[in-house]
């Protein structure tokens, strides 16, 4: 029996090292535990299989550093996962060997998202990344050599000490590699991370100066022929990240692994981030401990608005009509930030740079029973 969920997320938390700015669910080392973890993942998948489509559209292995997982364990996992039109694996440059690249390809992986972050030794050092610029390029070539024709590069900007010239250089080097997809994020100093402790003041100081970085990134990549199809994502024609598009279009997804989030039929749940509890429950054939959140249709529409406005494609008004403040829409249209086209609601280029603020404007007051 199978359900209608067309997107599967698999969380592989293991890393060689925890980078200072990271706030994902990660586990350092524990190489001897990888097999047991994969067993648990597969057990969880079996329990959730009923909701998943027979042949899902996308599978995404995120981390952590999925490619840090013991090769045998990773292969076993890939072999057991359902086939899909798009299977993405996140990889850190230093883990990408010709063997790994070939093994991923052999196991049906169609797309690799490479955490390059930067091409400057100094900025990589600030980020505590293990790979130097050469390792990033080498990893990219290994993937190409193995036959990958859909590679995404992650870049960070707004790194402490990074000048506009550094950013221009990073973008040029990334473009020179010719990836099909780029995800560019402004570095967020998340509260409680080591990074914020060390660099928070510096980031606050350069905040104003960094305002133009986002524009610089978008202008450069669009100039190089990439499509700015989502707030932080750029692609060659037809090479959108289909898994992520699923999130932004409000489609259901099943997530397995510690800390993984699923949204299925108006219910969202997040697995506990604790490894022992996760392994213990699944060893006994039970679902892991999780937090649940019921999403009523109104709330789903609000999310739909928030996520849909991240994209360059129009958002059908019918889907979000009840949560759009029409007066605010008129105001935003007047300011040249949003447009109502026959296909739906879309933000203008300037509106997209201000997407967060514009969305906050457009979203109608939440009803009395607040979701907060």
């Amino acid at each position: 029996m199978s359900g209608g969920v067309r997107h599967l997320y698999v969380h592989l938390p293991f890393c060689a090292h925890r980078c200072g700015y990271c706030d994902f669910v990660t586990l350092v080392g524990r190489r001897d535990g990888h097999d047991a973890y994969v067993d648990a993942l597969l057990a969880e998948l079996a329990l959730g299989r009923a909701s998943l489509a027979e042949r899902p559209e996308t599978v995404y292995l995120g981390g952590g550093t999925p490619t840090y997982t013991e090769p045998a364990a990773l292969e076993r996992l890939l072999q057991a996962l359902p086939h899909a039109a798009e299977i993405t694996v996140e990889a850190n440059p230093e883990t990408v060997t010709p063997e790994l690249a070939r093994s991923l390809r052999r196991r049906g992986v169609t797309r690799v998202s490479l955490g390059a972050q930067s091409f400057q030794p100094d900025t990589l050092a600030v980020l505590e990344r293990r790979a130097g610029p050469e390792a990033v390029r080498r990893a990219f070539y290994h993937l190409r050599d193995a036959g990958f024709d859909n590679i995404s590069l992650d870049l960070l900007y707004g790194i402490p000490g990074q000048s506009p010239a550094d950013l221009v250089q990073d973008l040029a080097e990334a473009i020179a590699l010719g990836p099909e997809h780029l995800s560019c994020y402004e570095l967020e100093a998340k509260p409680g991370t080591r990074f914020t402790f060390a660099h928070g003041d510096e980031l606050a100081r350069q905040a104003e100066a960094m305002e133009g970085y986002f524009e610089l990134v978008v202008e450069t990549l669009v100039g190089a022929g990439y499509r700015w199809y989502e707030t932080s994502s750029f692609c060659r024609p037809g090479k959108q990240a289909r898994h992520n598009l699923g999130y932004w279009r409000g489609e259901d997804y099943l997530g397995i692994g510690i800390g993984a989030v699923s949204t299925v039929d108006g219910l969202r749940w997040r697995n506990s981030a604790k490894l022992t509890g996760y392994l213990g429950a699944l060893a006994e054939g039970r679902l892991p401990p999780r937090e649940e959140e019921a999403l009523d249709p109104e709330l789903l529409r609000r999310e739909r608005l928030m996520l849909g406005l991240r994209l360059d494609e129009p958002l059908a008004l019918a889907q979000v009509e009840s949560v759009v403040d029409r007066a605010a829409l008129a105001r935003m249209e007047g300011l040249g930030l949003a447009e109502l086209r026959p296909g739906g609601l879309v933000l203008t280029t300037r509106g997209r740079f201000l997407g967060g603020g514009v969305t906050a404007e457009l979203m109608a007051e939440s009803p009395a029973k607040s979701t907060i």
Binding site: Y9, Y185, G212, V261, R331, L354, G357, T359, T371
Partner: protein, 596 residues
């Protein structure tokens, strides 16, 4: 029943911190009204009792016994803003202790209070306190006080309220020097209401000084000015806790529990008499007090408007001088335009509203009352800059006589400040070799704006300052408006002297540009006199406002972030198309005189 001859009614007037409350405590102790042990225990017991009954009547007048005499100590506020309150309290007395710190000497407030006491024909008993302090100079302080009240230095009592030294002599002097009350015990009753408080169970409690006749419990009473009628539910005095008595007699000081629930029905300064056998003439002294300083008070949360109205109503009971009327501002919503006796009075009211009533307030820049003759020849009084008509024939503003006492080295800098503030020199006088009294006539509006801070910093805190209202004089005054994205912000309008308009306009515009967060569009900030723009800045539009990442695991958190952003917007005040955080208003309004 006490014979009038055995009663003394007195106040203590002193500059703040010169030892008024310590002396009052010591008097309770020396007269054995409370033993040292009781000072603590009994007061606490009584508070507990009050708590049990839910009664919170504050003692405004305490009765003590000393060598066969009944002494009533009547409390007074110690600041010029409360001249009316002080004068009412002083009206209830025949004498006053004028207390001066032996180390500090006379302060500007001491002067003001001493003059008030003299005007009220009180017998003044000069006292130099804190003679135990190492830096005390009792002889110099006594010299200053003696000169002030026109007596020999030998008549000045030298005491330490802290150690108790000389306190018995003070009590003896009260009996010997202060005359007993005059009054006719047989006449129809007349009592001056010199203060009042509100108790949620017992209603309005009036503090009274009996002039003639007597009141008995359950007697039917009438307030002569207000016409209010009620029954005296309970009579009594404080010693220092509530002591009910069957009667209050001529010359005595005590309280009347009125049971009135409507705070506006009994005003301080009114005269109480009996409903039958009523007195014909009310006591003199009741007057409507005119506020001199005005400001708009707005709740930061508009839902608190009714709570603010109730709180003002309650404060007004204890504070006849507080004036308020509803005000609606485009920028700040519903609030009240309040009138105060002065800046300190404003500070106190605001603090009480925030502390006792737990209200969160936005207060506009204070302004004075202006008398305006319009181009059409119509005369009006303007309490709110936003109401100043665009075309005026004449504007008059209130002037004060400012008395500043400073060490002689700072005279120059105070004169400079006063000249900057459109002041006119009146006279100068050496109080001693070191200290100088400077008298200037100044527009009150100049004091309202940032004057105290300037005075303090220019004199390193050594200046003591006080003022009296002189009257109204014409001035070259203009209305300065602030516009955000072309829309005027009514709450930020000011009336300023033409010569200072550019500087103020520039200051306002710069401050707003700093305080208003960048919006989704460019926001011009302008200062204007009429249609003429005198200062302009632009708050540049934001260039970036996005949540960088948003994938399956982040959606809930990002949605909450967005909702919070939305909620934050709700707290902003909408001025035309511009969202202005309350903090920005506060920061700009602070330019109007409370900058510390």
């Amino acid at each position: 029943m006490s014979s009038l001859d055995l009663i003394r009614n007195f106040s203590i007037v002193a500059h703040i911190d010169h030892g008024k409350s310590t002396l009052a405590d010591r008097i309770l102790e020396v007269t054995e009204t409370l033993s040292q042990r009781e000072m603590r225990e009994q007061v606490l017991d009584s508070m507990e009792l009050e708590r049990e009954r839910g009664i919170t009547i504050k003692a405004q007048a305490v009765r003590v016994l000393w060598r066969g005499h009944q002494l009533n100590l009547i409390d007074t506020p110690g600041h010029v803003d409360f001249t009316y309150e002080v004068s009412r309290a002083l009206q209830a007395c025949e004498g006053a202790l004028l207390v001066v710190d032996a180390a500090q000497g006379i302060e500007a407030q001491t002067l003001a209070n001493a003059y008030l006491a003299i005007e009220n024909n009180l017998e003044i008993v000069p006292v130099v306190n804190k003679i135990d302090l190492p830096q005390a100079d009792p002889a110099a302080a006594a010299g200053e006080v003696a000169q002030l009240v026109g007596e020999g230095p030998d008549r000045v009592l030298r005491i330490s309220a802290k150690t108790g030294e000389g306190v018995e002599e003070v009590l003896d002097a009260i009996v010997e020097r202060i005359p007993p009350p005059q009054g006719d015990p047989a006449a129809p009753p007349r009592a001056l209401v010199f203060d009042s408080s509100y108790d949620q169970y017992r209603g309005v409690v009036a503090f009274v000084r009996m002039l003639d006749g007597r009141f008995a419990t359950r007697q039917r009473v009438r307030a002569m000015a207000a016409g209010t009628r009620f029954e005296a539910e309970e009579l009594g005095f404080f010693s220092p806790y509530r002591s009910p008595t069957p009667t209050l007699e001529a010359g005595e000081v005590g309280y009347v529990v009125t049971g009135l629930k409507d705070v506006s029905r009994l005003r301080v300064g009114d005269t109480l008499t009996a409903q039958e056998n009523a007195a014909i003439e009310p006591l003199p002294g009741y007057k409507e007090v005119k506020p001199t300083v005005f400001a708009g008070l707005f709740p930061t949360d508009s839902d608190e408007y009714p709570a603010l109205r109730d709180a003002l109503e309650k404060l007004k009971l204890n504070d006849a001088s507080l004036f308020y009327e509803p005000e609606t501002s485009q920028a700040l919503g519903f609030g009240f335009r309040c009138g105060f006796l002065g800046l300190l009075h404003m500070e106190i009211v605001r603090e009480r509203l925030e502390r006792e009533f737990d209200l969160d307030l936005l207060v506009t820049a204070p302004n004075v009352a202006y008398r305006v003759v319009t181009a059409a020849g119509e005369e009006l009084e303007v309490h709110n800059p936003a109401e100043m008509p665009p075309e005026v024939e004449l504007v008059e503003e209130p002037y004060i006589r400012a008395s500043t006492i400073v060490p002689k080295d700072h005279v120059g800098s105070v004169m400079e400040l006063n000249n900057d503030r459109r002041g006119r020199f009146h006279h100068m006088e050496y109080l001693s070799e070191e200290r100088v009294l400077l008298a200037y006539d100044l527009p009150l509006a100049e004091i309202v704006y940032d004057y105290y801070d300037q005075l303090k910093s220019r004199t390193k805190g050594y200046a003591s300052f006080d003022y009296d209202l002189l009257g109204f004089e014409p001035g070259e005054l203009v209305r300065l408006d602030v516009l955000l994205a072309g829309d005027p912000v009514d709450a930020l309008s000011l009336i300023v002297h033409r010569d200072g308009a550019y500087a103020r306009g520039r200051e306002l515009v710069d401050r707003l540009r700093e305080e208003i967060p960048r919006q989704l569009f460019d926001v011009p900030v302008q200062a204007a006199i009429g249609s003429r723009i005198i200062a302009r800045e632009t708050i540049k539009a934001r260039r970036k406002d996005v949540l960088a990442k948003c994938y399956g695991g982040d959606i809930t958190r990002k949605r909450k972030l967005l909702e919070r952003q939305k909620k934050g917007k709700k707290r902003m005040k909408q001025v035309g198309t511009v969202e202005v955080p309350q903090e920005a208003f506060l920061a700009v309004l602070k330019l109007g005189g409370e900058r510390r």
